[in-house]
Amino acid sequence: MSNNDQTAAAGAPPASRPKAARQPRRSRIIVDFMGSMSLAITLLVALAIASVIGTVLVQNEPYIEYLMDYGPFWHEIFAGMGLYQVYSATWFLLVVAFLVISTSFCVYRQTPGLLKDLRRYNTQVKEKSLRAFNSSATAELDQSQDEFLKHAHRVLKAQGFRAREKTHDGHTVIAAMRGRWNRMGYLLTHVGIVVICVGALADGTTLLKINEWLGNLEIETRSVPVSEVPRSAWVPAWNPSFRGSVEIPEGASANVVFLPMREGYFVQELPFRIELEEFRIERFSTGAESSYESDLIIHDPNRDEPLRHTISVNHPLIYNGYAIYQASFADGGTRLDIDAIPLGAEALRELEVPGRVFQEMEVPTPDGDTRIIEFINFRLENVIQLLDEDGVRENRHMGPSFDFRLMDRTGHGLYYRNYQRPALQEGAMYFLSGVRESPADEFHYLFLPADADDSLERFRTYLAMLHNADVRNAIARQVARDDDTVPDEQNQAIATTTAELMGLFARGGYMAVHEEIERRVPPERLDAMRDLMIRILHAGLQGLYMEVLQDEGVVSIQEEEQRFLEDTISAINAISLYQSPFFFHLKDFEHREASGLQIARAPGQSTVYTGSVMLIVGIFLLFYVSYQRLWIMARRREDGTGTHVVMAGTSNRHQVEFEDRFAHLKRWIIDQKPVDANNSGSTHQSNNKND
């Protein structure tokens, strides 16, 4: 990064620039190349492009996902180029290293000239070169040379210039400069960048990579308990810099963190043990999370008694150079007491399933088969935001829910989310169960109507009776008999059909009913017959419902009872799509959470901050302190009547402003007139106009 702005801005270079040697030494060529602007810009661009790649291609995903996204061919290439971890790829670090070296060379090359600029006022200038400046003026004054020089010094001093004067063979040169801190700005910015990069390098994974390369370390790619991770993947506690994470369930403790590395991880030992006493989520009145907090206990052999401390987001614990952050949370293995309610003839005989989040267990189905249930997650609170008719937001607390997957013996199955409590939906209460094919999909919900006691009792009774062939036949006969529009001789046939349709509906919903109708009825009569059949089916279902209500002792059917029937029919219809032989109902639970901690050791942090401060200070000096140089040459005129004056100036920034300023200086120094008699404020204003 050559810093020849001095010459770029000025019309002519100061005379003292050393001329390039005819035959540059080889080391000089290397210095020139490494410190060249072109190389620096090329590296900046390379760094920018690499950074873009790193944001477009999602980093640090499991390798299996990349394989699925890009296919084996591109996966190999991408993995080989380190594109999944761009920012720790060797080539990326090389680019950064080159940038640091290039900047260092630039600083190395520029510093001598820069220091010279600051120290040397360069009183050796020739009149010819002064006249060649963009900002330059000459004048013949009547004043004596001494008088003029005295005046010039006064103006320069008042305007903040530091000046040196030298007289040789009849002419006197005043060399003056102002804003020397601007030149320090160059040094501070560039050294700042180098300092930042060095600090960041100290905090990176370089040490781990070197040890891996030397064969001291080997990444672990399997998900196994810590005790089964081979020692070759363990990083000893003295490792000075790392950043990793660990999940600790409530009541448990950990003395390791996991450092993600490519497709696997290392296990980092800690010199102390962290116990999680409790994890809490504080909430606002809306149900939104206001704070995540963990009560930690640090057990350190070097301490007399354990340290208790509560951390939260934005409030980490710094312990002996280890920073412990609240990073995430998860379930820590909540105990779930579940009733598996068969969705069929056995609907009234539930099966107790004692589950725990992250565990799997087998559940025997009523038909003698087996399903495997895997408990995935538990949530204590579910708050959904709804907009009511007036556009006012309403928060609905849905209560606890649990997620699980139900698989057959081959491992195929769907994902479910069941809520413990019934939820209000358009005026009635329902037990909700979401089902989806993969975690990426949206849930489709099964709404099981809750009865007046917020229980599933009535629904289960109805379902069990519907699945019972004897009950169906009895109901069908009764319905056919009670129907006055049906001639007596057709009673038997209608009853048979009703019972059959009810049986079909119980097993396969409307879909099965329609298929059966289409199978039996010729196409030309289909429309008429379908309506009739559905009416018969509904009459049967209604009849069954009357029976259920009668058993309960309900005599008159109100609107809500009627609605319950409709909901029940909808639910039974949906069961065929639900693809689970059970409805898993959460009776009780014992909540246990886990806190995800991020633990880091970053010895380079203060170095990086120091470099950042240098960078910022340097930028302000560069932008807002204007480095100006001024030369005034005065010579007694040949005829002895006055003084011949040449004045020239240059600045490395703000040419437009400097020309104004030079005009002012000329008016004061040479013309010796006020710049603006009416507005004395304008002079210092022009000094302030740097940004």
């Binding site: 990064m1 020849n4 009547d142 206001s290 942090q605 004395s680 210092h684």
Partner: protein
């Protein structure tokens, strides 16, 4: 020819002599406001908040001295905001029952007025570009002042409204896209007005106000489609005093880059018109290329300086909130890309002395990178800065 030195005006008066009585009055006022604020709310502030208050007072006093129009502007905006807060009392419902609050003084009404005046200002400036008279651009300037004032007033009143919605929520209104877009529009307008007052180049507004009008359009769209103006509690990650300085600093950066890009557009148009229609009135109306280049540089310089500070502050915040000062989160990475874009621009100008269309194009491309860093990352990439989601 010799004139007594007393008659010359080169002697720089001392710093205290350059502060005029009205400056002293303004400085005294800002300090008084700061002291009253501390006396009223000191019990709710930790030492960082106190430091922030002192910084804000010092900054406002300095800006008032450095750029005098700020004095009247900040006093009027502050007075209007206080009036609104006073009208509210302890009852948020007055926002819809009180006439002044409902139509002028509430956060939401202020945003609407800001939008109206910034649109009007844009129209006036563009008219001024095609007019021989200075009148339309002067009107544009006045509207821009009113628009910026309404925007800042809206933010100040909203600050109070958040506390009124729920005292436990309280936060400074720079926490979501809706709020930062108000900040962006008002702040960029104010920065532009500074450059206009310093250079006297009023027709720059015809270009700069276009990008501000675009941001207002986005703000309105976002507000109407997402109900973004409804106050929501803060997510835990944002609940930090760092936000108070990180976010506004960032938007000085974005504002500077936006102004520079629009001046780049003006530069390119001027460059072309000078070749194709050198004598046309419109060619004369656009400021000279030198003037545009100069302001473009200054806008990028201030933007770059503040963006650097904002990024460093962001890194320090990240170290406290996420456990690492630099984790290559997409937002961080794009900040680096943006920083590199302008670092290269500045190097080209400083060391190679580049000027002209290439630099203008670069500044325009820079605005696209800025926009992606600001919005695109939240829209297209996942990451830790996901609270600004669209």
């Amino acid at each position: 020819m010799s004139v007594p030195h007393e008659a010359l005006d080169f002697e720089r008066p001392g710093i205290f002599r350059r502060i005029q009585p009205r400056d002293w009055a303004y400085i005294a006022l800002t300090i008084a406001v700061g002291v009253i604020a501390f006396w009223q709310y000191g019990h709710m502030m930790d030492r960082y908040d106190t430091g922030g208050l002192i910084l804000a007072v010092a900054l406002s006093a300095w800006v008032g001295w450095f750029w005098r129009p700020w004095q009247a502007f900040s006093i009027i905006v502050g007075a209007l905001a206080l009036f609104g807060v006073w009208l509210y009392g302890d009852d948020l419902a007055r926002g819809s029952t009180n006439f002044w609050l409902n139509y002028v003084g509430s956060g939401q009404a202020g945003v609407m007025w800001m939008s109206v005046f910034l649109y009007l200002s844009t129209v006036a400036y563009v008219t001024g570009l095609f007019s021989r008279s200075d009148f339309p651009t002067r009107v544009g300037g006045a509207f821009a002042w009113i628009g910026a004032g309404a925007g800042f007033m809206a933010l100040l009143v909203r600050w109070r409204e958040i506390y009124l919605t729920d005292p436990t929520w309280g936060y400074i209104p720079v926490a979501n896209l809706y709020e930062v877009f108000i900040l962006l529009a008002a702040l960029t307008t104010l920065m532009y007005l500074y450059y206009e007052s310093r250079t006297g180049q009023r027709t720059m507004g015809a270009f700069v106000m276009l990008v501000i009008a675009a941001s207002v359009t986005f703000l309105l769209w976002y507000m109407f489609t997402r109900d973004a103006h409804i106050v929501e509690p803060l997510v835990p990650a944002l609940n930090s005093w760092w936000m108070k300085i990180h976010v506004p600093t960032n938007f000085v950066g974005y504002g500077g880059f936006a102004i520079a890009a629009m001046l780049g557009v003006a530069y390119l148009i001027k460059h072309r018109l000078e070749r194709t229609r050198p004598d046309a009135a419109i060619t004369q109306r656009i400021p000279s290329k030198e003037a545009l280049d100069s302001v473009m540089y200054k806008a990028i310089a201030i933007g770059f300086a503040f963006f650097t500070i904002a990024t460093v502050l962001g890194a320090m915040w990240a170290a406290e909130a996420w456990g690492g000062y630099w984790t290559w989160d997409p937002k961080e990475t794009w900040s680096l890309i943006l920083w590199l874009t302008y670092a290269a621009w500045l190097h080209m100008r400083f060391t190679k002395g580049w000027r002209g269309p290439v630099m203008a194009w670069w500044a325009i491309i820079g605005l696209f990178v800025t926009t992606f860093t600001f919005l695109g990352v939240n829209m297209f990439l996942s990451g830790l800065h996901s609270y600004g989601e669209l």
